[in-house]
């Protein structure tokens, strides 16, 4: 991670240990992410990927270790980190409209005794335009298609104006068309200098989508470029015995294959 010496890393995870019981979900995880990178978090089911995201966002208190955002603690940079939940974690019947969800991204900036200001409305409007759901803004969120629902939460993250975006499995259970639409938003966010950390379950596309990969299974096995991380010896250690994914991976590694425009 060769960044300018004076610029602090966007995300600095130091010796992070988080547990829900006697067995830690994350054990001594450390890595630093330079600003403007698109980072994928991969690992088998139950390897602590979502926990890592919830730890960075400050939802779960770590047992040990800390997370620094642009060199400062989470409490000092409230609002700099946006979060896009996994689709399954959202109550889609909740009585809330698309616009209200996006407005929640602004809640961190509105004091409790005030109403949203014109500036907040403006930023929400722009965010909805950017992900192309402005015309659906007064719908209840359950009335949208899967891809549109995913975009509502992207709009919320954009409205928040955060420099760091954390996304939990945005590609899980979406069709190819939506996957491409999400990738567009990711790339656009990156072009604007945002730093993104994305939980991902598909090894085959991991190399193609991300600049850096975190390979996780309770502890961190590797952090680096896809070429450094997606090596059979490491993968076999992490994904004990799931041979099939390597065969698919081998196919994807053929030059020119699996690389979409």
């Amino acid at each position: 991670m060769s960044t300018k010496a004076d610029a602090p890393p966007a995300i600095d995870v130091r010796n992070l240990t988080i547990s829900y019981g006697p067995r830690p979900a994350l054990l001594d995880v450390s890595f630093t992410v330079a600003p403007g990178l698109l980072v994928g978090v991969i690992g088998p089911n139950g390897s602590g990927k979502s926990t890592l995201i919830k730890g960075i966002v400050g939802f779960i208190e770590p047992d040990f270790g800390e997370v620094r955002i642009f060199g400062r603690t989470m409490d000092e940079v409230r609002g700099e980190v946006a979060y896009v939940p996994q689709r399954g974690e959202v109550d889609w019947d909740y009585p809330i409209t698309v616009r209200q969800v996006a407005m929640m991204g602004r809640y961190g900036y509105i004091p409790w005794w005030k109403n949203p200001q014109p500036r907040d409305h403006e930023m929400v409007g722009q965010a909805l335009e950017m992900v192309r759901i402005a015309d659906l803004q007064h719908r209840q969120i359950g009335q949208l298609s899967g891809g549109q629902q995913q975009r509502v939460f992207m709009a919320r993250a954009l409205a928040q104006g955060a420099r760091i975006l954390l996304m939990d499995e945005p590609f899980a259970g979406v069709d190819a068309a939506t996957e491409r639409a999400i990738l567009d938003v990711l790339e656009a966010a990156k072009t604007r200098g945002r730093t993104l950390v994305v939980v991902h379950h598909d090894l085959v596309t991991a190399a193609e989508y991300f600049d850096r990969l975190v390979l996780l299974n309770q502890r961190m096995f590797a952090y680096g470029t896809p070429e450094q991380v997606l090596v059979p010896s490491l993968l076999s250690e992490v994904y004990e015995g799931s041979i099939r994914s390597f065969e698919m991976l081998a196919a994807a590694e053929q030059p020119g294959e699996g690389r979409e425009s």
Partner: protein, 505 residues
């Protein structure tokens, strides 16, 4: 007849006890309704039940403490404090048991609240010479015997809870909907949760004296659930829920004096019937609405066939021509025409039906799907004479995202195999933002942004380009920047975002 009705409605209002019950009940119902919305959205209904039972121990404890320490009989504030303490203790114990053991939360709730309730029962019966609490009253409530102290408790508890919820509405809203984001932007999620728990206990305490332990949870969640069926926004849901609570109390109390029944029972029965009625007739989420929706539904396919047919005709068409040309039952097609007229896809013109602007857009979208499918079929090697027929079936697979993807995979073709122009995805009016790969020849556009995969193409944000005809069998995009000609591969053209400019040829 009207005299009888007036008598039936007005006579009870002359009675002080009735007025007191009405006022107390309505206050309680409003607060219950508002808090109940948060309770059901957080899936805490069972917890409301638990808290109402647990408070017996608190009431007994508070009673006993004041009696033994100060010799005061039935000291209301002490009982109130005792109830809230008991509620908080119950919630704490539930959390403790479910966190440290393999016992799941719902089981933990069941264990702890019955335990705390049992402790209250034992306390009341063991000290029956000191504590004069009528267990039956506690369990069933006595809405017609509301004492002044009960009214005060309801008023104070209600105003505290309502103020907290209105002032911190956004906090409750976001922690209920997405606690993780709430934590990320610095809202104390745990504290808000405790505030809600305390609010629920306060509400429950003030409601128990009227409707009793068993029915209080109904007053908390039934009006909220009724409102849930009618609203798409939390503010509206809370308002409706409060209204439904009030109407249950009013309706229930009249039932109670007319038929001389239990007050709490009548209120909850009224409330439940109200819920069932709404469940049946709610405009969007109701049973009848769903049934009508399914019945009225015209197959999408028929509508699309009609649109396609009208688009291909010159000028207006008569309904007879449509029913003759489109496959399907005559009645279904006529229903489709009626619905399309009311949806403003079609309009009545001099000589029949014609497409509106909206209808035209829809029809072009279909035509686009149709011709893209033709291009696809041609590429898979389907015999040319069969292409149209199969595409006519496949054009109904036209979800926008999927058509977009197919267009991309086919390399954004401009014409179908018969040489007909494929309509663009949306009308390319000035200001429209799209990828350079979607530009049509002759269009003028400003480059907005070049993402990473297109960095090597030589274009930059701010450049103004005019699209030329494609080369190399449509695989090379040609853009003119002043006199310069820039060639892009598909990959690069996809990575360049542009906005259409007006004033082109």
């Amino acid at each position: 007849m009207t005299d009888f009705l007036r008598q039936a409605l007005l006579a009870p209002l002359g009675e002080t006890f009735f007025i007191k019950s009405l006022v107390g009940g309505m206050m309680t119902a409003v607060v219950c309704g508002v808090v109940g919305c948060l309770v059901i959205l957080r899936k805490m209904s069972f917890l409301g039940d638990a808290l109402s039972h647990a408070m017996l121990a608190g009431v007994a404890g508070g009673y006993l403490f004041m009696k033994l320490a100060f010799g005061l009989e039935a000291h209301a504030p002490a009982m109130l404090v005792g109830s809230v303490l008991a509620a908080v203790l119950t919630v704490g114990l539930i959390g403790f048991v479910s966190n440290i053991s393999r016992i799941k939360e719902d089981t933990a709730i069941g264990i702890i609240y019955t335990g705390v309730f049992a402790a209250g029962v034992v306390l009341v019966s063991a000290f029956s010479e000191y504590v004069h609490i009528d267990l039956m009253h506690f369990i069933m409530g006595d809405v017609l015997g509301v004492a002044d102290a009960d009214l005060w408790v309801a008023a104070i508890a209600g105003s505290i809870v309502l103020s907290v919820i209105i002032l911190f509405f956004r906090f409750f809203h976001i922690t209920s909907f997405d606690p993780i984001l709430a934590a990320a932007i610095g809202i104390p999620v745990g504290l808000v949760g405790y505030a809600l728990t305390v609010s629920v206990s306060l509400v429950v305490v003030s409601a128990v004296s009227m409707v009793g332990v068993i029915l209080v949870v109904g007053l908390l969640i039934t009006p909220a659930a009724t409102a849930y069926l009618l609203s798409d926004r939390l503010e509206k849901m809370m308002l409706l829920s409060a209204l439904f609570g009030v109407s249950s109390v009013v309706g229930g109390l009249y039932l109670c004096v007319w038929f001389n029944t239990s007050g709490g029972g009548a209120i909850m029965l009224f409330c439940t019937i109200q819920f069932l009625v709404v469940l049946f007739v709610a405009p969007r989420y109701g049973i009848l609405a769903g049934w009508f929706r399914r019945r009225r539904q015209v197959p999408q396919q028929v509508m699309e066939d009609v649109l396609g047919f009208v688009l291909r005709q010159e000028g207006a068409v008569t309904p007879e021509k449509v029913t003759a040309a489109v496959t399907g039952e005559r009645s279904v097609i006529l229903r489709a025409l009626r619905q399309m007229l009311s949806a403003e896809l079609l309009s009545s013109q001099d000589h029949g039906l014609g497409l509106t602007e909206k209808g035209r857009r829809e029809a072009l979208k279909l035509l686009r799907a149709h011709r893209l499918w033709e291009a696809y079929l041609h590429r898979t090697g389907v015999a040319p004479e069969r292409v149209h027929e199969i595409a006519h079936q496949l054009e109904h697979l036209n979800d926008p995202d999927s058509v977009h993807l197919m267009d991309h995979l086919l390399g954004h073709p401009l014409e179908d195999p018969h040489g007909s122009r494929i309509p663009a995805e949306v009308s390319h009016e000035p200001g429209k933002k799209l990828r350079a790969s979607e530009l049509r020849p002759e269009e003028r556009a400003a480059v907005l942004e070049v993402t990473e995969k297109g960095r090597d193409c030589g274009l930059q944000a701010g450049d103004v380009v005019i699209c030329g005809p494609r080369r190399n069998e449509g695989r090379t995009w040609v853009l003119h920047r002043d006199k310069e000609e820039i060639h892009l591969e598909h990959r690069q053209a996809d990575a360049v975002w542009v906005a259409i400019l007006g004033g082109n040829g």
